[in-house]
Every structure is written in structure tokens, then in C-alpha cells.
Amino acid sequence: MNDPRLSLLLALADDELILGHRLGEWTGWVPYIEEDLALSSIAQDEIAHARMLYEIASTIDGRDPDALALGRSPVEYRNAVLCERPNRDFAYTVARHWLYDTADDVRLRALRSSSLKELRETAEIFLLEERYHLDHARAWFSRLADGPVEARRRFGDALTKAIGEAVALFEPLEDEAALLSEGTLPRANEDLLAEWLGVVGAARTEGPTGDLVPTSTGAMEETGVQASLAVPGIERRDGAWVHAGGFTGAGGRRGKHSDDFEPLWAEMTALYRSHPGARW
């Protein structure tokens, strides 16, 4: 990747493709048909967004969009690790979906002033569909966060698991300095991260204040989203949530993936690798 623009385009496209693939795994398994259709449809939206981004990347890179989506080796993917994690349960899926969509909203709004015309226009289109994704995610957020004790506990656990890795959606890109100076990326990732933490912090502090409920041992335990606030990498300072510490440079934006990535990659690319050049 010589052109700095590719490190941004592939990070955006790979996030959408890999998260879309994970959401697609719910098809046929959601507890009821209406939500099954909604999650599957959102999965298709994300993959359609990935395709548009690969098409832009293709004009710079030279490889066709299918080759970019399915023809790269695992270390060449630039998605954040959050996107590749297994779906676990519905609570984790919703927590990740909400964290991702709120983060995507912040970065897409910023990209509307990118110096790359195609990316600017694409961001505008995505925001139209992402508005629905956000409505969907927020609706489930409040139903789980304000739901029965078990829902609150599982959703709190899920947020705790997901939020540390969601911060890495804003891990600086390999060519971030160049991207900023040429204006392809209008604002630094750390700056976008600070804005996103404001959004997340506001939503979470507006939520239920963490009821104390008796556990099976009789001890009182705090539940709900407030209980999931304390994660490494996020601190409360002067009433605002801020990013604490830096990035180690060992995340998805550098091609460093978790053990969950390779099985996903193997399944996603199996057909493409078995039948090179096949079309449908």
C-alpha cells in the first residue's frame, strides 16, 4: 500500500465487510422473524457500503473490488478487531452494533469534508442508511439497558467486553499524518475518538443508574450499564469521558488481528479462493 488513501479506504471498507459478515451469521437464528430480517438487512447494507468503498479503492489500487474484498491474505485486512469478534449472544451483538454505529456516525460526518470527492459523496449516502441503523441500535440499547435484571446484567457485561475494543476503531492509521495533511482524513482519529466518547458517555450516563439487586449469595450487586463504565483506556476527567493512554500500534489498523479473524476469513473467502475468477 503505497498510496496513503488506501490505508483509510481499506480500514473503512474492511470494518463494514467484516461486521456485515458477522451480522449475516445471525440470519435464521434470531429469536423472531422481524428482527432476523432487520439484522440481515443491516448486514446487507454494511456489505453494500463495503463494496462502494472497495470500488473507490480499486481506482487507486488497480485490483478489482472483489479481489480487494476477498483476495487478500488475513494480515492485509485493516478492520478493527471489534468487527471480527464472534457474535456471542444477542446482548453482545447489540452492544457492538450500537458502539460501532455511533462511532461510524462520528467518522462519516467528519468524512463529509474529505478532500477525496468520491469519499465525501459516499459518506453522504451512507449517512442516510446509517440513520436507520442508529435508530435500530438505540431502540435495542434502551430495551436491554432498561430491561429486566438479566437483560441489564448481560448487556452491561457485553458493553464492558466491547467498549475497550470499540476505542480501537479510532486507532491511528498507518499513514495518518499524510492523510491529514492532504485532507483525505479531515480530522485526526484521536480527535474523532474524543467526540465519540462524548456521545457514548452521554448515552450511558442518561441510562438507568445501576440498580442494586440481590445475587444468589445474598450480596447486593450493581447491574446495568453504569456497572460497565470502568474499562481500561477510558477515564472520567472533569465530568467527561476521555481516552487514557495511547495505542500500542498493535491493532487491526496495522493488520494485527485476533485469533477470531482467520476462521472468519477462511469461510468468507472460501468460494473466491476455490474458483478464481468465477462470476455470478
Partner: protein, 101 residues
């Protein structure tokens, strides 16, 4: 879960027609889920939902339109009236007669 009936307009100028039903825990979720259940292929320009329990059907529908013979009021007698008029006019012309007002 409640059942909601979903209605659609194909374009903003079209009448509201029934698109189907969905189950949802409340109205907000119904509005979110109806669009993916019935409109994800761009079937309509407007999507409306209403709780099934808020729809009320008229009692005794078998008596709607009346039960006695009202066939006199049907318009069947006017079918082909233009052709009949033409045929009569030609017949009168052949007989050397005409209709005066």
C-alpha cells in the same frame, strides 16, 4: 409481543393498502421493524403501522349492501347504449323516419 398491521403507499399519491402484519414489543420497535419486514426492497414510499387491537371491524358484514333485490339500480342496462342508438337511427333512416325532440 403485540401484533401490528402494516399499511403502505406505493407512491405518496397512491391509496393506503395493507402490506401485512408484524409482531413487535411496542410501537417504536414496530416502526423500526416494519420497514425491514415489508419495505426492504423499496416497495413503498410510506409505511404506516397500527395496533391490530385498534382496528375495529363493522358487525354483521353479511348484510352490507342490503339483502333484498336492488338489481334495478345497477348500470347494466346502459351497456352498449351508443351502439343501440346507432342501430335504431340507421333502421329509422332506412324507413325514412327520424326522431324529433
Amino acid at each position: 409481543m403485540e401484533v401490528f398491521e402494516v399499511f403502505a403507499r406505493r407512491t405518496h399519491d397512491d391509496p393506503l393498502v395493507h402490506a401485512g402484519s408484524i409482531k413487535a414489543p411496542d410501537l417504536e420497535m414496530a416502526l423500526i421493524l416494519a420497514r425491514e419486514t415489508h419495505f426492504r426492497h423499496g416497495e413503498g414510499a410510506e409505511c404506516w403501522v397500527v395496533r391490530r387491537e385498534d382496528l375495529h371491524s363493522v358487525p354483521n358484514p353479511e348484510t352490507m349492501g342490503g339483502v333484498t333485490d336492488h338489481s334495478y339500480r345497477r348500470q347494466d342496462g346502459y351497456v352498449g347504449v351508443g351502439a343501440k342508438m346507432k342501430r335504431v337511427t340507421e333502421e329509422l333512416k332506412r324507413l325514412g323516419k327520424s326522431i324529433t325532440k
